[in-house]
Each structure stands twice: as structure tokens, then as C-alpha cells.
């Protein structure tokens, strides 16, 4: 009997990492938000694919848009994802200073990304790419380009503001353990932004 009870005991207690424990509510909430956001991006990219497949004069994206600058932007976001995980790693070791430094580098990477995107948009607009037409073919090419990259750019901008506010949270809480969950959750958002860019870069620029 006692043996049976000892076997049953581990199942009766909820594992510490379960999302149904209070410490993970924020993480669960962020994952649900990200799943919804992913459906939004998925719909945009699917609509892009549909429009492109039904158009006979869709321009070749990598010839019109150029991929050198966006390759640098992709590399930049990958680097910012590394600084993000480093921030969490240092906080786990109890070093709030290094955590804040890496969070700042992550936000800086995001700010540079958005600045490069603004530069790219300005350059393309001067060359004739507009939301309602362009000199290379289907008008919807410009529409979809600005909507998808703009939607992603807004996510990066929001992420930079979010990261800066989390630096404030880490600064205000003397105990590193008190901020761990907050930093982990902003990390989830930031990596998602990186993940989405990987798909946007492939579908909007390379294919």
C-alpha cells in the first residue's frame, strides 16, 4: 500500500515547471499572445503568397529590393537574440549589472534594425516603390511589402520600448530572482520578433 502511495505521489504534485503554477502565468500569457500574433503574421504571409501566385507580373523581390542590407539586418537580429539570452543567463547568475547591459545591447540592436528599415523604405520610395504602385509590375507588390515589413517593424519598435522598461524593472528590484520571470517573458517576445523576421526575410526578399 505504502509502495503504491509512493508511486502515485509524484503524479499528485504538479511539476514545478508546469504553466499552471502561479510563477508561470506571465509566461503562459505571453505564449498565448505570441500564438495569436503568429496567426496574424501567418495570415499576412499566406495572403502575400496567394496574391503573388495569382499575379502574372510580380517583380522578382531580390532584384528590386536588394538583399545585402536586409542580410545585415537579419544578422543584427540574430545577434540581438544572443544578447537577450545572455541577459537572462547573467540574471540567473545573480549579476543585475551585466543583465541590464545585455538588455541595453538588445534594445540597441532593435533600434538599429528599425533605423536601417527606415533607411531602406526611404531608398525604395525614392526609387518608385509606393503602397499603390511601382515601376516594376504588380501594384500589390508595394502594398504587401509595406504592410508586412511595417507590421514587423512596429513589433520591433514595441520590443525596444518593452526592453527599455524591463531594464527599469531590473534596476528597481534588488533581488535578481524577483526580475527573472519578467526578463524571461520579454525574451520570449524578442525571440519571436527574430523568428518572424526569418520568415519575412525568406518570403518577402529571397523567394
Amino acid at each position: 500500500m505504502s509502495q503504491a502511495a509512493s508511486h502515485a505521489a509524484p503524479h499528485a504534485v504538479e511539476p514545478a515547471e508546469s504553466p499552471l503554477t502561479p510563477e508561470s502565468w506571465g509566461k503562459l500569457g505571453m505564449w498565448i499572445f505570441l500564438a495569436g500574433d503568429a496567426v496574424g503574421f501567418g495570415t499576412l504571409l499566406a495572403a502575400y503568397g496567394g496574391m503573388r501566385a495569382t499575379s502574372a507580373d510580380w517583380p522578382n523581390p531580390y532584384e528590386v529590393l536588394g538583399i545585402n542590407l536586409t542580410a545585415v539586418m537579419t544578422f543584427l537580429l540574430i545577434c540581438s537574440s544572443v544578447t537577450m539570452v545572455k541577459a537572462l543567463e547573467w540574471l540567473g547568475k545573480g549579476d543585475r549589472g551585466k543583465c541590464r547591459m545585455f538588455l541595453f545591447f538588445t534594445a540597441l540592436g532593435g533600434a538599429i534594425f528599425v533605423s536601417l528599415q527606415a533607411y531602406e523604405w526611404t531608398h525604395l520610395i525614392h526609387r518608385g516603390l509606393h503602397i499603390d504602385g511601382n515601376p516594376w509590375g504588380a501594384a500589390l507588390f508595394g502594398t504587401s511589402f509595406f504592410i508586412v515589413t511595417g507590421f514587423h517593424g512596429m513589433h520591433v519598435t514595441g520590443g525596444v520600448i518593452y526592453l527599455l522598461s524591463v531594464i527599469g524593472v531590473v534596476s528597481r528590484r534588488p533581488d535578481p530572482a524577483a526580475s527573472y520571470n519578467v526578463v524571461e517573458i520579454v525574451g520570449l517576445y524578442w525571440h519571436f520578433v527574430d523568428l518572424v523576421w526569418i520568415m519575412v526575410f525568406t518570403f518577402m526578399y529571397l523567394l
Binding site: 510563477e23 505564449w31 540567473g92 504588380a138 520571470n181 523568428l195 520568415m199
Partner: protein, 108 residues
Amino acid sequence: MAGEHKHPNYMAIFWLLAVLTVVELVVVFLPFGKMINGTLLCGLAVGKAAVVAMYFMHLKFETRTLGLIALTPLAIATLLVFVILPDAFFVDHKTANVKPAAEAPAKH
């Protein structure tokens, strides 16, 4: 610390993602045609996204519940592709297929 994960080798993952990005840039210019190049690029993108989700977002070390939440949009996106595919490939409405008005027979 509560909620802390195992930390994978982040620098190895960074280099993997960087190398895969360079491979993508090379694939664009391969002379295999749009279908093969497109399939390779989609495969590379999905692979990179999976690496980010599994290691940077720690999905590999999370519970099954979070894994299922993360997989939901993937299932919806796959469904969406099958919804859009018939319209994109089996319906004759490409802009080039629309006959110009001048070619239509004049009605009196």
C-alpha cells in the same frame, strides 16, 4: 532559481543561424530553378525558426502545454495554405490571362 532553465551553448546556436543565413543567400543564386530553390529556402527558414523556438525560446525545455500552444499557429498556417492553394493555382484569374477590352467583339 525558480523557473530557471538549462542553458544550451548559445554561441554555437548563433553560429549555426549565421551560417544558415549565408547558405540562404547562396541558395538564391543557385541555377536549380524556382521550385527547387524555393523548397530549399522554405526548408532553411523553417529550420532556422525551429532553432530559435527550441533553444532561444527554450521550448525544448518547456512543458508539453506550452509546446502545444506554440504548435497551434503552425497548424492554422498549414490549414490556411491548403485553403488558399486551390484559388492560387487552379483558378484562371491571372492578370495576364484577362483579355484586353479591345479584343472583345464589338456589340451593336
